[in-house]
């Protein structure tokens, strides 16, 4: 774990609104594990203030281009332009200064990939699944189920195919692959391979549906979760998620940045309802106490 003041190596649009950025990242090839993320500072000014969390798509190195230059380690991230930070990111070019804090968090448990594996992802959720697929010893036993609203949201299919992983594509509007939800495909595939372990990352409704399916079929599931993050290192306690057995009397809050972002689904509380709080203040100024 380190903060690198580094530079962008390349930045390309791969599908409308989706970009792939390569960043010089010393040590990441050795250290980064599938499912981990970085806190990315999009420029060295105080605007935007906070770093943005991004999953590591892959780590690699470019061989030395001449004798005097050492090989360059890099990581790639894939991001969707959604707001102020990613808007700045899409305008970055080779050589632009950025900062990388990481690799952070707990990744996927590779021991679980020894048998049949199913990787379920929607949209940008495919990012950490790619590095997982790369690390699976026998890719022919892995399948990746890719879902999205329409064809623009379907990214990285060829990348997965190149790894020798079988891909299943579905879109809600039928503009690419099968018509319907990726979770429907998951149900079908689990009929064929009932012993498979499932790894999922994507929008919350998808994650919830995947969890339900896996629970009802008794299938082991690891999920990668997203929460708003300020620090990424377990200090601010902004990114918590409710753990298994959480109640207001016996709270079990887990830091998504430290314990996660990848969790065993069985370690989380899924009966969660979205409860807005009552009116009180923030930490420091009135601490938001609810008694």
């Amino acid at each position: 774990m380190k903060n690198h003041k580094t530079i962008v190596l390349s930045n390309q649009e791969i599908s409308p609104g989706y970009f792939r950025m390569r960043i010089l990242a010393p040590d990441y090839n050795r250290l980064a594990r599938p499912g981990q993320f970085v806190m990315f500072r999009v420029q060295r000014s105080l605007l935007p203030l906070l770093r943005r969390p991004f999953g590591i798509f892959r780590a690699g190195f470019m061989p030395a281009d001449c004798d005097t230059m050492p090989p360059k380690e890099f990581i790639e991230i894939i991001y969707k332009v959604v707001g102020s930070g990613t808007e700045i990111m899409q305008g970055l070019h080779h050589g632009d200064p950025v900062e990388l804090l990481g690799p952070l968090g707990a990744g996927f448990d590779l021991n679980l990939t020894s048998g049949d594996s199913m990787l379920v992802g929607g949209g940008i959720g495919l990012v950490p699944l790619y590095m997982l697929a790369e690390s699976i010893a026998d890719p022919s036993r892995a399948e990746v189920l890719i879902g999205g609203r329409s064809r623009d949201d379907i990214i990285m299919v060829t990348e997965f195919e190149r790894l020798g992983v079988k891909t299943f594509v579905s879109t809600e509007d039928g503009s690419l692959g099968d018509v319907g939800l990726v979770t429907h495909v998951l149900e079908q595939r689990l009929e064929q391979k009932p012993k498979a372990r499932v790894f999922a990352c994507g929008p919350m409704p998808m994650i919830r549906a995947v969890e339900k399916i896996c629970r009802s079929k008794g299938v082991q599931l690891q999920v990668s979760m997203e929460e708003l993050m300020a620090c990424g290192v377990g200090a601010c306690l902004g990114c918590v998620i409710k753990g298994e057995g959480h109640t207001s009397e016996k709270p079990n809050f887990l830091c998504t940045c430290k314990v996660g972002p990848v969790f065993n689904a069985s370690d989380l509380a899924w009966n969660d309802c979205d409860s807005g709080g009552d009116v009180s203040d923030g930490d420091g100024c009135g601490c938001g106490d609810k008694q």
Partner: protein, 312 residues
């Protein structure tokens, strides 16, 4: 020859807060630095003036629902809800780590009632390795309709006086800026026995998602921190320095040495760095180095010369 002289010169950065000797005036702000260990991979904790812990209470506290944080222009809102491991867990699980460093540990704490404040202070008083206590009075008093202790000078006085009886360690009282006249609160806590005053805690704020029309924080209201609040914080520190004799620690939006210097010049003896740690985990190390560079460039041998040197 002349150049060499300049390089060899060192600046005296040591300051003293109520008997706590700090190597330099830079320390983290409570709640932005965890229990120290979270940032140890990025920063040498021995280089800091002090380490200030997340706010602790008698019993562990769960905190609020998410979303708990939200970025705003030049700042952020938080409503963590003072989640913490509780004083006992801190003593057995977190304190041993902090003791390894040659850096004073200041424990930030709070209570839901006046009695609870007293109990935590008494427990901390027994602990070797705790250099000082920082009392967060920006909390609602659950016995009195949730009125924030620090917004009522009488309640602030009574609570600080109760804590004062329980500890002989240096007691820093941390003020909320959400009051009409900060000088009244500052005098009240000084009179009640505070050895030092730190400020500011976060300013209450709110942000709305216009698409969903929901507040951006689950708690609706949160505390604003970061560069956006600095001018308000400098003004409040300036006012408090005028009102009290005890040393003052300046907090609010410090991200660079220049920011820290503003607080020192208006009269803060030391400063705390909060939100900037999230932006750059190495921020405090950079600030310390740049303070030294500034002093060398300005011909200042001792940082204490700068403290309260405001020309008006």
């Amino acid at each position: 020859m002349k150049r060499r002289e300049k390089i060899d010169k060192t600046v005296h950065l040591q300051v003293d807060i109520a008997g706590i000797r700090l190597k330099n005036p830079i320390m983290p702000a409570s709640g932005t630095f965890g229990y120290g260990e979270e940032y140890a991979p990025y920063l040498d904790l021995n280089s800091l003036g002090a380490i200030v812990t997340k706010g602790l209470s008698l019993h562990p506290k769960a905190g609020n629902n998410t979303p708990r944080v939200c970025e705003t222009v030049g700042g952020m809102l938080n409503a963590i809800g003072l989640q913490n491991v509780g004083i006992e867990h801190f003593i057995y699980q977190k304190m041993p780590f902090l003791k390894q460093f040659d850096t004073p540990v200041i424990v930030n704490f709070f209570g839901n009632t006046q009695e609870e404040y007293g109990e935590v202070a008494a427990r901390l008083d027994e602990l070797p390795g705790v250099a000082g206590l920082e009392m967060n009075i920006s909390c609602p008093n659950v016995k009195h309709g949730g009125i924030v202790f620090g917004t009522d000078p009488k309640a602030a006085f009574a609570t600080v006086a109760a804590v004062r009886k329980k500890t002989s360690k240096p007691l820093i009282v941390k003020l909320t800026p959400n009051v009409t006249d900060i000088q009244v609160t500052a005098r009240a806590v000084e009179e009640a026995g505070a050895d030092a005053i730190s400020l500011i805690n976060t300013l209450t704020g709110m942000a709305v998602d216009v698409k969903t029309r929901r507040p951006r924080l689950a708690n609706t209201i949160g505390g604003l921190s970061g560069p956006a609040i600095r001018p308000i914080a400098v003004r409040l520190v300036h006012q408090v320095v005028q009102a009290v004799k005890v040393p003052v620690i300046g907090i609010g939006g410090i991200s660079r040495a220049m920011d820290a210097l503003e607080f020192l010049i208006v009269g803060a003896t030391a400063v705390q760095v909060g939100t900037a740690n999230f932006v750059d985990p190495n921020a405090m190390a950079t600030i310390i180095a740049d303070l030294e560079t500034f002093c060398l460039a300005e011909g200042v041998d001792d940082i204490n010369e700068l403290i309260g040197s405001l020309k008006v």
